[in-house]
Structures are given as C-alpha cells and as structure tokens.
Symmetry: C2
C-alpha cells in the first residue's frame, strides 16, 4: 500500500472511530498540529477542532459509516479521493463527495477541502 493510500485510509478510519481516545490518537498520527478542514457544512482547525467536528458528525448520523469510493489520485503533495457516508444496514449512500488533501513530507494531512456531490433531500424537513 502506498503512503498516500495509508494516510487516506487513516483519514477515513478517523471519521468512523467512535471511541474518543482511539480517535484522538489516530488524529494525532494522521493530521498535522495546524491542520485545517473545510467543506460546505463543516470546518475544523487543529486536532481538537477536527476531533470535535468528527464527534459531531458521528452523533448526527448514527448507523452510518464513511468509506472511500475509489483509488487515491495523487500528484505532487496533493491527493483527491471520493467518499460516501452509507447507511450501514442498507448500504445506501446518504451523502457523497470528494476530498482534496495536502500531504506533508512525513505523510500527514495538512489540509482537506471537501465538496459534496450527493446531499440528503431536506426539502420536506421544514414543511408543516
């Protein structure tokens, strides 16, 4: 497995790690101290911010898990990969998108910028 695949797999594992201590250990190994994450719904700065963001998503989507949807496409210090948040029982994706990462020479994530390609239909949520 390439270094890039290893860091992307660790990144996905963090989203799925609901044990706080294990998640924070993984974050410390995988992200840099001044890491940044931003997507259309979320943002988190540094290990503590990323940990809080991740725990919030886990609380919001019980019974769901993240998985990669394809290989890591890397060049220079950048990487692109697709992911989806699936309902574990049905296997159906609820949310899907791509992440663009910047990787340090020692194989840690300095930043992730996410974009969404599938979002839940909330159009009826606020209806009476």
């Amino acid at each position: 497995m390439s270094e890039i695949d290893r860091v992307v797999d660790a990144y996905i594992a963090i989203w799925n790690e609901t044990d706080g201590d294990r998640r924070r250990d993984l974050i410390a190994q995988t992200w840099t101290e001044d890491a940044t994450y931003v997507d259309p719904m979320l943002n988190g700065d540094g290990p503590a911010g990323i940990d809080a963001m991740t725990a919030g998503v886990q609380a919001q989507f019980p019974g769901h898990a993240f998985r990669r949807t394809g290989p890591a496409d890397a060049h220079n210090d950048r990487v692109r990969f697709g992911w989806e948040l699936i309902n574990v029982a049905s296997g159906e994706p609820l949310i899907a998108g791509i992440d663009i990462g910047q990787v340090t020479p020692d194989g840690r994530l300095a930043s992730i910028v996410g974009f969404l390609d599938l979002v839940p239909d909330m159009s009826g949520a606020a209806s009476s």
Copy 2:
C-alpha cells in the same frame, strides 16, 4: 453573474488568450502576486510563472481551447469546477479535469490545484 463565476470565467479566458500582452493583463487582474498553480503535468508560481506555463500549453496544443464543463461549486473561499481542452474544429475533448481554487476577499485566485479525468492515450507514441 456571481463574483465566483466571473473569476472562473476570467481564469479560463487566460488559458485561451494567445495575445501575450492581453494575457498578462488578464493574469494581473485575476491572480494574486503570490499565486500558485499545480496539476499532474504543470506548475507555475506568480504571474510570470503562470504566464509562461499558459504560453507553453498554448504552443503545445494549437487548434484547441479550454472551456468550463459546468457551474462553479463554491463554499467558503473555495471553488470547484470542471473543464476540458477541446479540439476547436471537432469539438472533441482531448484532456479534461477539475480545478480547485482558493479565492481572496477581493475576488482573485490565490491558488489552483488541478486533477485530470481524461488524458490523451500516449501508449503508441513511443512505439517504433
């Protein structure tokens, strides 16, 4: 037209502007002084580096032009958009990909990171 669409359109126009003076004017208006561009094949730093990179691509692909393939997908200070390099005569795409940009508060590009989804088949190019 939104500010984001305007800057993305100007960015594409730079790739297609073969008049050096006009291209450098457009670059000065569109990119920041410390701008960076990187994709799997190219990189350029600052207005002069981006100008040289663009002129090189134009010389390499005469009879071709860049165009956007869809709307700009923006959040925070980031934008994603698809593009293709088409053969002007046939309309067929030769290269296609996505660009991820970071936009300054005054509406200029600070960085572009590109990824490729369609590349020319060069497998026969080195054959005897």
